[in-house]
Symmetry: C2
Subunit: 475 residues, 2 copies
């Protein structure tokens, strides 16, 4: 631990500057206009992995953005950790709500981050968290303390659904062989309340288009006689939930696993202040499915949110128009056992069915993934728990998160591997929002914790191997 | 009539070119970025009025865009016609749906306009129709046939609610004294079915803002527990109408005058083909208030339409965000006896009331006006009827239009004057839409009909004066 801390202290400035350089490249995967920047970021990640000491580093082409691969195999008898992360970022919109430009990182102190936080798109999600692994790897290489074999798989399409990662993983099962997948793309409850994510929701993301007349019409001449696609879209969206905020799509809840009263009581023990929660986002009241608590609503229950809507005249002033079309982006968060393809189909069927005959409706699936629950009694979980206990001074709490990392289910299916989600972000980091930031404390806490995870994971594995060898010998 | 036709034939090219020049100035009053162009258009209209022979032409400042005034008083014993029109135009959005640039007028032939139509924003609404009056005035001056005194009042804020026209009219009652107001800002049923608008709907136009959390949130971490302002806005909009498309705002219909069965039967005689109507805008079905026909829905019934909606992520790809805010522009068309201020208040009260406690709601009134019904037995109406009978070869049909020209009610209130709405546009002219156009036939039919209106209006007035003089003499 001293060796780790010394190395971090000696290289603190450089570790920060390298991340800031990476954040300056606007690698927005959702918007084709940033294509050159996304590709440039992949090359940059490759360069950083080589500099840190990785072997066989390559930028692997896919049908979309490439995956950066690298590895360090120190000893076949040691366990292998496969590190997953992503170098692409969310679009910066709405750009005018940023206090500083999204791709010009600056460190500013905040109430939650007295040591400062790096403000930039991707600082937390996921460049900052991904880069902790590159720097922790450099540290272990330079201090001769790499306790496991390591493989890196850093993709560029996480924010648009990881469409080509599945193809890559399926085609490279042998190359990606490992004992565990280590991901830092989640968070902790607070800087003094460490936690590990042991569950993630799935996702089904769609775009809908409602067409009324074949051209924009004057609302005075046609208003009242012709279906207005905005009004209709609103009515259709309203029909997706009932008065209890229960989703009305037939079959939607069929596969949802209901937790037992005991499990719910256990969950309710997690520290949570409704007042602080409301205050943190300035709302007078919470809003959700009747019969469930806020923590349940964001973890064990599926949801449906409109993420974007547009149609008609949205400029300054007034225009009395009935537009030809109205659009919405709608996503559903799914819980274990719900299948995202099935849910996408159920949504499509229902949304098409509730459309009145006066409009035409198109439903275009974007992307999705299934929910996962990862074990909290595995060697990897125990290693995380011990590592965090060392660096935070207390054991982390296992929590289920409302977010989705669809590829965790994919890794389990294709590679047969569990993932361990050791993230260091905070809910208040504003990922996917203007003014995304990542605490300097959190960045270095990650770099400090990761080598300890490797150490404990190797130790626990060795112990388990010894135990099973003893078991075999005693037979 | 021959003199009129000869003058038009001799000046046809010039009349078209002058209008095209006027259409090249993008006088969009709703968008501040066009401010210079709107002001330039006012100066241009002033110049054209002077060239046509008007006296005392001036660009009158207001708190917003100026009003162009001009007059020609030939004889105090003759009746005075006050011509109203507007030189501002609707925004051109969505600009990518235009086949040719909105401010680069071109003449193209269409099925409805075999003689060609001028494609440009404002070609019909209202630069083209307004300019017919300038050219008809020139014609009467040059052919020494101006049969009435004439005053021009051409404003630049019609498309944004004529906010400053009321102030101007109130301040200039003496100057604006006239016998009738003549407006060409409406249409005819078809080029072989002339009609005169004798009723207009009122308008209440508002913008609403729904705020959930104080910043954009990650829909995975917060989804299901926090009010999503887009979902809420949709639900609130859906609540504005019931399953019969009846508006649910309490008190909304209180002042609506229901027509008698006889009146409705009379209305139903107007030529109308539902098949053609549906085909013209490519809809499978009409959509409106139960119990009323399409023509009734667009004329004698009030309506509520969302004219624009926006919120969240609307770019390419996917962003899993719960936005902080969602917005909509909503307008209601009103029928006689409904007061626009009262309706605006009823809407505001109801919309605020139906908001759940988890959001904050703002309602911002834009502009409005009351509905009007103008007499179809006045001297002015008779003059229009005779003039159109001469130029179209058949008497025009009196019709009520679904559109709104709020200032008609204002003129009646403040100046005590009835307006006569002698418009020459067609429903298919796509006003307020991409590819707005105005038939060359219609433009010249207007220039041809207007002088005849002056002639008959003077004659009928003289006859009425004689009759009343005889009446007095015989007492």
């Amino acid at each position: 631990m001293d060796r780790i801390n010394d190395y971090i202290t000696d290289n603190k400035e450089r570790f920060l500057n390298e991340l800031m350089d990476l954040l300056r490249i606007p690698s927005v995967s959702a918007d084709p206009k940033y294509k050159g920047d996304v590709l440039k970021t992949a090359e940059e990640v490759k360069k950083r992995l080589i500099e840190a000491g990785a072997d066989h580093v390559e930028v692997c082409s896919t049908a979309g953005y490439p995956i950066v691969y690298g590895e360090k195999m120190v000893d076949p008898s040691l366990p292998t950790v496969l590190v997953y992360g992503h170098y692409d970022v969310q679009p910066p919109d709405p750009i005018d709500l940023w206090d500083s430009p999204p791709f010009e990182p600056v460190i500013k102190k905040t109430e939650i981050h007295p040591e400062g936080a790096i403000f930039a798109r991707g600082s937390c999600d996921d460049k900052g968290q991904m880069y902790m692994h590159v720097k922790a790897f450099e540290l272990m290489m330079k201090t001769n303390s790499l306790a496991c074999n390591v493989k890196f798989m850093i993709e560029g399409e996480e924010e648009v659904g990881s469409e080509n990662l599945g193809v890559y993983v399926n085609a490279n099962k042998e190359k990606l062989k490992a004992d565990v997948i280590l991901i830092s793309d989640t968070g902790i409850i607070a800087n003094d309340v460490p936690s590990v994510t042991v569950g993630l929701r799935g996702l089904s993301y769609l775009e809908v288009e409602v067409t009324g007349p074949n051209r924009d019409l004057h609302s005075g001449l046609y208003g009242g006689a012709v279906a207005n696609p905005i009004n209709i879209l609103c009515e259709m969206i309203a029909k997706l939930k009932d008065e209890n905020n229960h989703i009305t799509i037939p079959g939607f809840y069929d596969d949802v696993i209901e937790l037992s009263q005991e499990e719910r009581a256990e969950m309710a023990k997690a520290p949570f202040s409704l007042d602080k929660y409301k205050k943190s986002i300035d709302i007078s009241d919470i809003h959700g499915e009747t019969g469930y608590s806020t923590n349940e609503r964001t973890s064990i229950r599926p949801t449906l949110d409109v993420n974007g809507i547009w149609g008609g005249y949205t400029g300054e002033g007034a225009k009395t128009v009935i537009p030809s079309k109205a659009f919405a982006k709608i996503s559903m968060r799914l819980v274990p056992s719900q299948n995202n393809h099935k849910i996408t189909q159920l949504f499509t069927d229902y949304f098409t069915k509730i459309a009145p005959p006066s409009v035409k409706v198109k439903v275009m699936p974007h992307h999705g993934g299934n929910a996962v629950v990862t074990p909290s009694d595995s060697a990897a979980y125990m290693a995380v728990s011990k590592a965090m206990n060392d660096t935070f001074g207390k054991k982390p709490i296992p929590v289920r998160s409302g977010g989705s990392i669809p590829i965790v289910a994919l890794f389990k299916d294709v590679l047969g591997l569990d993932s361990v989600m050791m993230g260091f972000g905070l809910d208040s980091d504003a990922i996917h929002s203007p003014n995304e930031h990542y605490g300097v404390f959190n960045y270095f806490k990650g770099i400090q914790t990761i080598p300890l995870f490797y150490k404990y994971f190797a130790e626990i594995n060795a112990q388990e191997n010894k135990n099973s060898a003893t078991l075999i010998a005693s037979k």
